[in-house]
Amino acid sequence: MDLENQKRVKDFADKYGAENLVVIVGASEGEAAGLAAETVTAGDPTFAGPLTGVQLGLKAYHVVEPEFKAAVNEEVYEEQIGMMEMVLDTDDIISEMVSIRNEFCKF
């Protein structure tokens, strides 16, 4: 996750409390999605940004996950995400996200 976004997430967690945050990720591949999720849960695995060694343990979901899909308006989802659902390897993305949450999520 780029350094500026790491800083923003950290600032929001400090300001609003980690338990009140959900991070929504939109990466196009499992590996990139998992990296973003790991950064906001276990800390920046590349040791480059403000979340290095910071274990926020936040709830992180990708837009193709059923939990997100169920939480939003069906028509809007279809319009905004419907096409990409056909393009992305959603199984790969979902399994990466689930595995990161199971290991590092604190909430």
Binding site: S28, E29, L35, E79, Q80, G82, M83, M84, M86, V87
Partner: protein, 511 residues
């Protein structure tokens, strides 16, 4: 309507291994943030030689010795495979070595900012004097200077020029105080100018064009030249035209991030179709900042650093000649302020809106040329296969529109898409790499329609969060010119006279 045509294409690559280390931002940033990093220590072991770069299959495709479809015959990764061609010069252009390019930078410099060490200068001058495009100009190249003068300049704000790890020259700053005339900026600007000159000269040479027929140049790279009072004043186009002896041309720079080449293509087409100019060249050189951008991932995966070339292109747009592919200026797609940012909205605006206007299905376009980044570079860096992702999105929209069935999606990608082959130099892979091949596919080949798509990430400039994109359809020339399609004035006059005679005799008859 009489549409303008694509009349010629030129493409150039420059191998610049030392510039990766000294000018690529991934490396320069690393030196600031983490000077002891392992990555910086390992880079030298991951640089390819000029011979390897010439032989590299995607590079052979870029200069036209192989076709994009040839890439299907090679399993990825490509960097360790041997292709069927390995020539430095190609159908559309060439792959220039670094030393010759530093000489070209010096020849492109009209303010004595580029210094080359004298023995190195002589050697490079000798090489350029046997280069088919530069021999005359190289003959009048000034002598070099003592290395001490270069070392002193580098210690005092000049950007070093290196070859094989050795300091051989420098680019000086043009002003003591002006922050827009620093050596760093002048270096990058001379790089984009010189590589633009290389591509432009190749366009002229490979297409038998009379350079004096060019009346306008649009430069569409992503650099800015100016001084502290006008940071992006320009005008790279005019500078390149001058260096290439396009004596009857003027020009201007068009900026649009990576989408700029297609904006330039549309603008050039409009100028020609409206009769303002007859022959417009759109051209751009490469970006030294982008060299080795994904180097850390390449090194981590024990690969060579594949972003070791600058890219350049030059395309000629001219009046309809009844032969070359015509540019359908009435079928332009564009991402507007109101389009929205979802992939679906973007693809609809760029791809299906112009198709709908023409009553075409997604499958009526034989080939789409999108962001043709070489996946050999992007996949190991976690950035996926960019052309393939684009084709999947186009196909997916086709499925939603019921132009194709869900199960035909991957087949659509194969049939209407292409493997990527262009270096990740921003504007360079954006739609334009295919134009040279389109000239053949849409004339001697079997295709009838191609769509050229450019996209840009404007948010990087921090002025807008918006995305951008523009597209245009090319089609096989119908062979008819406007005259054959219209009725002449004489015929119309006769028809009116006939009708009036008939009316008059009717009136006389009634009296």
């Amino acid at each position: 309507m009489t549409f303008p045509v694509i009349k010629g294409a030129g493409y150039a690559l420059v191998h610049t291994p030392d510039m990766i280390i000294h000018n690529g931002t991934t490396q320069t940033t690393e030196r600031i943030i983490n000077p002891e990093s392992e990555y910086l220590k390992k880079i030298n072991n991951h640089l390819r030689s000029y011979e390897e770069v010439v032989k590299y299959i995607p590079n052979q495709v870029y200069i036209g010795n192989m076709k994009p479809s040839d890439l299907e015959g090679y399993e990825m990764p490509w960097f360790d495979k041997v292709g069927k061609t390995d020539e430095r010069f190609g159908k559309f252009g060439e792959i220039m070595p670094q030393d010759e390019f530093t000489g070209l930078m010096k020849m492109s410099d009209v303010f004595d900012l580029v210094l080359l060490e004298k023995d190195y200068n002589d050697a490079v001058k000798a090489k350029l004097m046997v280069h088919p495009l530069f021999k005359e100009e190289a003959a009048s190249m000034k002598d070099g200077v003592e290395i001490e003068e270069i070392e002193k300049a580098v210690a005092d704000h000049a950007e070093g020029l290196y070859n094989n790890g050795t300091l051989i020259g420098c680019v000086k700053r043009a002003h003591d105080v002006d922050s827009n005339l620093t050596a760093h900026i002048l270096f990058e600007n001379l790089v984009v100018k010189a590589s633009g000159v290389l591509a432009f000269n190749n366009l002229i040479e490979k297409n038998n064009i009379n350079v004096e027929d060019i009346d306008y140049v649009i430069e569409c790279s992503e650099e800015a030249c100016g001084d502290m009072n006008q940071r992006g004043g320009g005008n790279f186009a005019k500078a390149i035209a001058e260096s290439c002896n396009a004596v009857n041309a003027t020009g201007s720079d068009t900026r649009g991030f990576c989408a700029a080449p297609i904006h330039a293509l549309v603008q050039a087409s409009a100028l020609v179709q409206a009769g303002v100019y007859k022959n417009v060249v759109i051209a751009a050189g490469g970006a030294s900042a982008k060299l080795g951008m994904n180097g850390k991932d390449h090194v981590k995966k024990e690969m060579p650093i594949l972003e070791d070339v600058l890219g350049g292109f030059a395309i000629l747009i001219s009046e309809n000649d009844g032969v070359n592919p015509q540019i359908r200026t009435d079928l332009v797609g564009r991402h507007t302020v109101g389009t929205g940012s979802s992939p679906q909205a973007v693809i609809t605006a760029l791809i299906t809106d112009p198709l709908d206007k023409a009553g075409l299905k997604i499958t009526d376009i034989d080939k789409y040329s999108v962001e043709m980044q070489n996946p050999d570079i992007t996949k190991p860096a976690g950035a996926g296969n960019v052309p393939e992702s684009n084709y999947k999105m186009i196909g997916a929209l086709g499925v939603k529109r019921k132009d194709i069935e869900r199960k035909e999606l991957l087949n659509f990608v194969k049939k209407h898409g292409m493997n990527g082959w262009a270096p990740t130099q921003g504007h360079i892979p954006s739609g334009v790499p295919y134009l040279g091949f389109a000239m053949e596919d849409l004339t001697a080949g079997d295709f009838n329609k191609a769509m050229i798509v450019g996209k840009g990430s404007l948010f990087l400039g921090r002025m807008t969060n918006l995305f951008d994109g523009v597209s245009v359809i090319l089609e096989r020339n119908s062979g008819k010119t406007e005259e054959e399609n219209t009725v002449s004035k004489e015929v119309v006059k006769n028809m009116i006279a006939e009708a009036m005679r008939g009316f008059a005799s009717q009136m006389l008859g009634e009296e």
